[in-house]
């Protein structure tokens, strides 16, 4: 049984992050679809590259939230800028209320290494079922930021600086990888310890690929 993911992005840098995520999952039983929110200036080449990986939709957020096909997925990954991330989560949850509140897990991450404004970026992402982080330092910063707050149970996973990786050149295996990373893209992460690595996903479908975690 494969895991079906929908990735949502708008700007070209966010779409490239989706592309990197999709490519890194090629060795796993993961089916990825991408919704590229229409936006002037999105390079056609980026969309073309995404189409090689899986279906690419071009729905606006209101259209997407009404689309029945959302139910086909196991989880939704959202790659938007700060306020839009929070808006999507809020809107998605609102649209699910009339349906009895059943909803898919939402996850989000970063489209590159976070050099500054980490706290600000996290503030927009809180409340997602899973926040994907680049490395142990970001995870430690998250824990520092959230301790003693109502968000201290926020789930996170370290998946390496996946969006910063070049797509073509395979790398030799180095240490354990994050849940979606095949070994050739594994980052030199320490042995799992501390906060969640991969056992934190709520209601993860049975038989999902766990990679090296």
């Amino acid at each position: 049984m494969s895991l079906r993911l929908l990735l949502i992005a708008d700007s070209d840098s966010q779409l490239l992050a989706c592309q990197a995520l999709a490519r890194s999952s090629e060795d796993h039983a993961v089916e990825i679809s991408v919704n590229a929110i229409p936006r002037p200036g999105t390079p056609a080449a980026v969309l073309a590259a995404l189409r090689e990986i899986g279906p690419v939709w071009g729905l606006s957020l209101p259209q997407l939230l009404r689309d029945q096909r959302l139910e086909q997925f196991d989880a939704i990954g959202v790659y938007l800028t700060g306020s839009k991330l929070a808006e999507f989560r809020s809107s998605y949850h609102s649209t699910r209320k009339p349906l009895g509140g059943a909803r898919l897990p939402l996850f989000c991450g970063f489209n590159g290494v976070v050099l500054e404004r980490f706290e600000e970026a996290i503030a927009w992402r809180l409340g997602y079922d899973l926040i994907c982080l680049n490395g142990p330092r970001d995870q430690a910063r998250l824990a520092m930021l959230l301790r003693h707050t109502p968000f201290s149970a926020q789930r996170s996973v370290v998946w390496g600086a996946i969006a910063s990786k070049p797509p073509a050149r395979p790398l030799p295996p180095i240490g354990p990888g994050a849940w979606c990373l095949p070994n050739r893209w594994s980052c030199p992460l320490p042995q799992r310890s501390g906060v969640d690595w991969c056992g934190s996903w709520p209601a993860w479908p049975a038989g999902h690929p766990t990679g090296s975690c």
Partner: protein, 349 residues
Amino acid sequence: MNLGLVCQAEAGLRACLQLSLELQALGASVTLFTAEIPAPAMARDVPVIPLPPLVAASSELLMGLDAAGVFLEGAEMAAFRHVHGNAARLMGRAPVPLFTGPIRPLCGDALASDLLARLGYDLICLQGEAQQLELSWLLQGSRHHQQPHELIGLWCLPTQAIEVSPTAERVVLVHDQATIPPSPFANGVLYQRLRTIAQENPHWQVRLQPDTQLCTSTPEDPASWPETSLAWHHHQDGQPPTNLQLGLADDLPQALIQATACLGIASDWLLTAMVWGKPTAILGDYGIRTDFNGPLFFGSGAMHRLADCLPLDRLLELPRPNVQWLADRGWAIPDGASRLLRRLQELAR
């Protein structure tokens, strides 16, 4: 111990005066080295030597101390240490142990930037556990990973217990930061909201309180005030409501003591308000903005939208701030000056 504290700008001076008083109370002799002699009201109990920082760095006066605290910012930090080391070498003497630390309650990017300039000093004074954790991650894997440091609490702000005599008049103190929000328009909008609030809550005094001097050269001249301050907009207002008043920066500590409740976006003094038990609202209308020092207040439990504080009587029902968060900022450390003296005595041996 015979100590010197070197500072320059207003924030550094306030912090150093605060620290001086605490160190003096423990028997240390403290002298301030600052380019300009502060107002007598500010520094009445602390001797001041008017020397620019880099002149002080090479001064014989500094060489005779047991240790010197250097509370400058940015590139001057490294310059001071180098000049002092060179001067000591030329004089054939050992450099005086130098200590330093953030002069404001910073976190995140602002803290990292501040700390990088202070690396290499004999001791870095941090405020609380939150800063300690950030320093640890900042230096992990670097050659500075053994940088000596000590937690000395919220030393840069007044947090000692105060006596409050309740007054019948209700006063909400609105902390006016000269450049936050950074646009005149946003400040104008906030001023208009506060104006309306004053009109709709006539049994409250709304006091706009600058938390620093609005202009260092001519603070009394409204024409010199920044348009990004509430004070500027108040001055432009031909007929402000009688219960919408403007305070003076020098009166801030006293105004805070007398306030019934406090409002602000990211003023450091909001921490003092919390410690003093004032109902405090951090205006969440602007979100967590790094350029507003918003990350500092993340987790405080004191962030509220302005609309949720109305009518102003609601301020009196605000929940207390998150005590564990406040403890992590440094409030949990009541003996900071003693800890500092202990570490300095070790360095001076």
